[in-house]
């Protein structure tokens, strides 16, 4: 027994059985599945959390959790969150944070509502909203990057400032867009397909495209490098400031789409549009497995995080607990996810 365990120092080239057995022996990391799991451990962890949570809900109340109605209501509102969670993964990876997206959602959807109310085609409204979102993202990004301000504080300030501007001009009045339901834009972006809210297909397409952008595009690669080590990125000739501004512009675009979708769901624009998304969206990013320190992150994980967070509220109530439990479970899931990710991820910085 002990003889076979000893290294064969005297005859390195002899020992016929040894080399042949070595050939057959395969390192576990060679297996594609191990590689897949290692590359996607954060998002798979998030998926695990989601599955466990749903299993608990199902056991608690099987009748409600097998009805389609519950899922349809989540699938209607979830896309709005997805359109901002995904760009925020980019921002957090870049080592920044953007808390101004709720106001950008409100501002861009306001422009959309104004264009539609003025009698123009909703498509024109969408284009106008997108331009508004891009401009606001550029403004916020420039303020942070070229103004050299802390993104946490500066974007918080911009959120208040833009929201205040909306409130001052509208004096708290909402806008009803009743004509919207007859338009082509509504059919394409907000109707139902085989009983499934069509928004979710757009949101999934957005998530897939963004995940590819993150992992397989120059933009995503540079965002990760800048978040990981901005000095090195600069030494290697990357325009660090430009990359940083770009992620804020990306949030602006996402927020504009999200805001427009939320107006199309409700046929109404409120001056508070987007406000309720601040904390759930931020929670989704971190529940999804994107760490706070920058350089790495996961778009798909963030999307699964958004699904998890949007099911907590529905799930807690549907499981028969009173609404008072919602916040408690929200917090519980966030803390458990963070602990899970800390254990799941190797940290190199």
């Amino acid at each position: 027994m002990s003889k076979t365990m000893e290294p064969d120092l005297h005859e390195p080239s002899a020992g016929i059985p040894r080399p042949s057995s070595q050939k057959e022996w395969k390192h576990p990391s060679d297996h594609w599945m191990r590689g897949f799991i290692l590359d996607n451990r954060a998002s798979l962890g998030t998926l695990g959390v989601f599955i466990v949570m749903m299993a608990v809900f199902m056991i608690a109340n099987p009748t409600v959790f097998t009805t389609w109605y519950l899922y349809r209501s989540v699938l209607t509102t979830l896309p709005v969150a997805l359109f901002v969670v995904v760009p925020l993964v980019f921002v957090v990876t870049c080592g920044e944070i953007d808390l101004s997206f709720p106001a950008t959602m409100g501002f861009a959807s306001w422009v959309f509502a104004l264009v539609v109310q003025a009698g123009y085609d909703p498509f024109l409204g969408i284009v106008a909203a997108l331009i508004t979102g891009m401009l606001l993202g550029f403004l916020v990004g420039s303020l942070v990057v070229y103004g050299g301000l802390s993104s946490l504080i500066a974007t918080l300030g911009m959120n208040f400032l833009l929201r205040g501007l909306i409130q001052i001009i509208n004096e708290g009045k909402s806008m009803a867009l009743t004509g919207l339901s007859d338009s082509w834009a509504y059919t394409i972006f907000s109707s139902q397909l085989l009983g499934i809210p069509v928004q979710i297909f757009w949101a999934i397409a957005f998530v897939v495209l963004s995940a590819m952008l993150y992992n397989r595009h120059r933009f995503g690669a540079q965002v990760r490098v800048v978040g990981d080590n901005p000095d090195s990125a600069q030494q290697m000739g990357i325009d660090v400031k430009r990359v940083r501004v770009k992620v804020f512009v990306f949030v602006g675009i996402g927020a504009a789409i999200a805001g427009t979708f939320s107006v199309m769901i409700n046929f109404t624009w409120w001056p508070t549009a987007g406000d309720g998304y601040l904390l759930p969206v931020l929670a989704s990013v971190f529940v999804g497995g994107t760490p706070t320190w920058g350089g790495i992150g996961t778009v798909v994980g963030g999307a699964i995080g958004a699904v998890t967070v949007s099911f907590i509220q529905t799930g807690v109530v549907a499981a028969g607990l009173s609404g008072f439990y919602v916040q408690f479970f929200n917090g519980l899931i966030i803390i458990l996810s963070l602990l899970g990710h800390k254990w799941n991820q190797a940290r190199y910085r």
Partner: protein
Amino acid sequence: MAERLIELRDISKSYGQVYALGGVNLSVDRGEVVGLIGDNGAGKSTLIKILSGVVKPTSGEILVRGKAVTGWSAARSREAGIETVFQDRALAVQQTIVRNIFMGRELTGFLGWIKVNKEIEEASRLMREIGFTSKVFTPQSIVGQLSGGERQGVAIARAIYKQAELIVLDEPTTALSLTETAKVFHFVRQVRASGRSILFIGHNIHHVFDIADRFVVLDRGKVALTTDRSQVKTAEELINFMEEVAHPGGLAGLHDAGDAEQRAR
């Protein structure tokens, strides 16, 4: 005489009232290895950062192949064929080897999408070329998992991609084991043999003496001596000179890993 690849003329750099460099001239010809020696705080790192475009000089001129350049930046420096292996290696430790090698010049195709397979192929080729290979890591390993020598390998692989004409090695042997240092030396000779140039910066005068054709001694922001192999026969001569001219106080300060340079950065 060989072609003059790059020339820094009368370069000065001051941070407020403090002079890091006061009128430095430095040139590198094609196919030569220039050793840049100096004590901590002599201005070596500042000079390297100016050469690589990371830091802008307060005054002075940079000439590439005899032509003065304007708007010198990190990107311009790389375009001109200058690759720098920084002392801290400038790696993004949470990224893969591939991402580090192609940092700032991703191999992209249509609309900026990265050619993933091509990058992996090229990265493996580069790692093989310089002999930094192992069964433990692949081009898709995370740099944070590698040892110091392996990280140096990644930084060097990044520098030799695209056949850079001048490779600047800033303290490449610091904190490396003997075998790893030997690998770096082997690499330097390989580069010289292929007709390209190297600017080798080092604390260890023996290391620099072994490898360089020409020596430039920097002292307190000024060039104290420029000499070559025909004039200096042994490393001791070089050390004696530095002891005499630059450091009247003796050699003690030379090997003292002081923090003056740290502060300068």
